[in-house]
């Protein structure tokens, strides 16, 4: 019964008009939850103790790690949307992928920049071409390439399939990013939260990190729904203009 209801809800969302109506109802709530999570997350981040090795620079981790997670989550959302475009031709799948790309680029940029700002005082260098850093940089370039591809084509339905295939091919980079620290000898430290044997971080630093990760995730989902709504309107404007041009010429 619950699965049927969920399936009906998702099928209903396939209609862009229905999606716009649901988005208008949930966006104020999502924005409020995001604000509360950021307020709590920032408070916990300030209250967290300094690390015995990193000192106060450990606080950079509370924004660097969520940014890096979101960089990968955003690409995973785009990959799921790409499957929706290629397999089910879901009307909102391409809209979701296109709307997510600039947000993913921004989070990846943040991960690279805050990582660099942490690396200088801790490693003594802004940047090294190790496997983790390089694969995240490749992810950033992939986001820029997908944004450029979407902008280069006038008709979004034509670019949808090409874009979806490129997204799925590029998805190979996500496990490379995740496991690069295990597969190769990198300056970047191995995973300390998402491990089979549990997190190795002390709770006093783990909780601020998790709350900030939730805040970043809510921010992404809120902005993604807003950007999807904008993309639907953009396509409606294009359709209406074509319709108006046809009625004038006909």
């Amino acid at each position: 019964m619950m699965i049927t209801n969920a399936a009906n809800f998702l099928t209903g969302l396939a209609n862009p008009t229905r999606f716009l109506s649901v988005a208008a109802k949930i966006l104020p709530w999502m924005s409020a939850i995001t604000l509360v999570l950021f307020a709590v997350g920032l408070y916990l981040s300030i209250q967290a103790p300094e690390d015995y090795q990193q000192g106060m620079t450990v606080r950079i981790m509370f924004i660097h790690v969520p940014s890096a997670w979101l960089a990968m989550l955003c690409y995973s959302v785009m990959a799921a949307a790409a499957i929706g475009t290629l397999v089910w031709r879901h009307p909102l799948a391409d809209v979701a992928a296109q709307a997510a790309a600039p947000l993913g680029a921004a989070f990846t940029f943040l991960a690279l920049l805050t990582g660099s700002l942490w690396g200088k005082p801790m490693w003594g260098t802004w940047w090294v071409w190790d496997a983790r850093l390089t694969s995240v940089f490749v992810l950033f370039l992939m986001y820029l390439g997908l944004i450029a591809l979407n902008r280069a084509m006038d008709d979004p339905t034509r670019s949808a399939r090409v874009s979806a295939i490129l997204i799925l091919v590029g998805y190979v980079n996500i496990p490379i990013i995740k496991f690069s620290v295990d597969w190769w000898n990198t300056l970047h430290q191995p995973a300390s939260v998402m491990r089979l044997d549990g997190p190795t971080i002390h709770p006093s630093m783990l909780y601020p990190l998790l709350v900030m990760a939730l805040a970043f995730s809510m921010l992404f989902f809120t902005l993604h729904i807003m950007a999807m709504r904008n993309e639907i309107w953009r396509r409606r404007v294009a359709t209406l203009r074509r319709q108006a041009a046809r009625s004038v010429s006909g």
Binding site: I63, F109, K120
Partner: protein, 59 residues
């Protein structure tokens, strides 16, 4: 630079990037709604709108 400077710079850049993302989405929203309002004022309506002749699956 001191460690505090690295922390403040990181949070500052993070806040600025998030502010730019929010501004981009809101400005885009305003521009799209203005375009739709302008088309509506000219009497251009979607085929699936009530009062139109045919339904449409247009996004």
């Amino acid at each position: 630079m001191t460690h505090l400077a690295y922390v403040l710079l990181s949070y500052g850049i993070c806040a600025a990037t998030i502010a730019i993302m929010i501004a981009w989405v809101l400005l885009d929203q305003r521009a799209r709604l203005a375009e739709l309002a302008e088309l509506e004022a000219r009497g251009v309506k979607r085929r699936s709108d009530p009062g139109s002749q045919a339904g449409s699956a247009d996004v």
